[in-house]
């Protein structure tokens, strides 16, 4: 199936996953394929992917609560009288076979770049803690490249995916909630499994009005 058809027909935000768990081999292969084919500036890959499997229910509940609290807090920023109770569409964060969370990572230069640092005065910013906040935008773009490639490899294996970008990006919040293994900034999350219900199938007629901006709003020929 061509890439366009795969995404058009198969990529649908999941509201609820089935209890069936995709095989570990398929998940591992998809992750390997994404790692192998995703490029990175200076070959640094200044991010890491944490995989929370089927046995990590307690941890997923904690992450889910972090997401819901973030959602409620943001709604309050906009409307101080907001009575937001969070977002029911985040259910996929706690109920899924596999959850992937992406975090920043301090990189180590490979042999080629180490030589450039030593002999050609190159500055390798991905190796410095102090640079992490400055380069987070460009690392985030690379996370998007990886997430899309991972999406494609999972969809090719008939595994559904869903995204989430609503969470506290301060890793201290994660640590205080009990996830002490999180030591750097979270950037994105992706869940996968077999879809039972999709977001587009809930909510009724109003969903038809949930459309993306027109092409002319996004692409401008200078």
């Amino acid at each position: 199936m061509k890439h366009f058809d795969l995404l058009e027909h198969k990529r649908k935000q999941v509201f609820e996953y089935k209890d069936d768990v995709p095989s570990l081999e398929k998940i591992k292969l998809s992750l390997w394929q994404a790692w192998k084919t995703t490029p990175s500036k200076n070959n640094a890959m200044a991010y890491e992917v944490f995989v929370w499997g089927p046995d990590k229910q307690k941890e997923k509940e904690i992450i889910y609560n972090i997401c819901q609290n973030s959602c409620i807090e943001i709604d309050h920023q906009g409307h101080s009288e907001s009575i937001s109770k969070g977002n029911e569409c985040l259910k996929h964060i706690k109920d899924n076979p596999f959850l992937f969370t992406f975090h920043q990572r301090l990189a180590t230069p490979n042999e080629y770049y180490q030589h450039s640092i030593n002999k050609k005065n190159m500055y390798y910013e991905q190796a410095h803690i102090s640079e992490m906040p400055k380069i987070v935008n460009s690392v985030s773009v690379e996370v998007g490249l990886f997430a899309q490639n991972l999406t494609t490899y999972l969809l090719e294996k008939d595994i559904d995916v869903s995204y989430n970008a609503c969470f506290k990006s301060d890793y201290n919040v994660w640590q205080k909630a009990g996830l002490t293994n999180i030591t750097t900034r979270p950037l994105f999350m992706l869940t996968c499994g077999y879809g039972k219900t999709y977001r587009r199938n809930i909510g009724g007629e109003i969903n038809k009005k949930d459309i993306k901006p027109e092409l002319k709003d996004i692409i401008t020929w200078v």
Binding site: R11, P39, G78, Y123, A147, D210, D217, I219, V222
Partner: protein, 233 residues
Amino acid sequence: MKHFDLLEQKRKHVKTYKKDIPPKEIIERALYKAWKTSPSKNNAMAYQALVWGPDKEIHKDAIHSLVVKCHADVENKAVADGQATKIQGAKLGEYENPYYRHIKENPYLITIHSRISTPNKFYQRQIETGHFYDQGFESHIEKIVDSVAVEVGIFVANLTNYLLEEGLDISYNSCFKRRPEQWHNVGLHMVKTRPIVMISCGYAERYRREDLQYLKLEHEDVKPQIEEIIKWI
């Protein structure tokens, strides 16, 4: 061709492009497909792609100057902060990283920038019930830029795929000045919001890896091991 094979065999960083110009229809089709298949939080797509075509050579030179300046400023700052002791001395016309040349010499350059979006009817209704649509506020551009950058990465990954499928080559760049005022200073007044990434495309004349192969350095420039990137909890 399967996605994996397409990327493994065809995605290679371009050092120089041929003079041949791909038909505009190919670029338009790839952009349409990327727009159509890239999802976005709240369906906001809080970014926009500016396409600089074959007739925009002066503009591309100006953008390239912002790349060289970024290279120089990053290294000067590192020395000032004590993170490095020497600089490479990047300076326009004197020392320019040859792997940034694709930014000024290409048939098409696509720069992607933040955008203030307008909620669709579904989200207008959500706003009435207390939802905060942060993509609609200029004051929130910097606050949400990281999550917008992830979406830009998703869009770029899809655009890459559609261009490669058409037989084109592409290259990325994330070294450039990020304030719109800095773009205005070199005459690019049409840029109103912060740039996030850029991608060039055309037909390759020479790839970066050919340089590495010639210098017998390809085995040194490798990515981190998978165990460093993927952590099973």
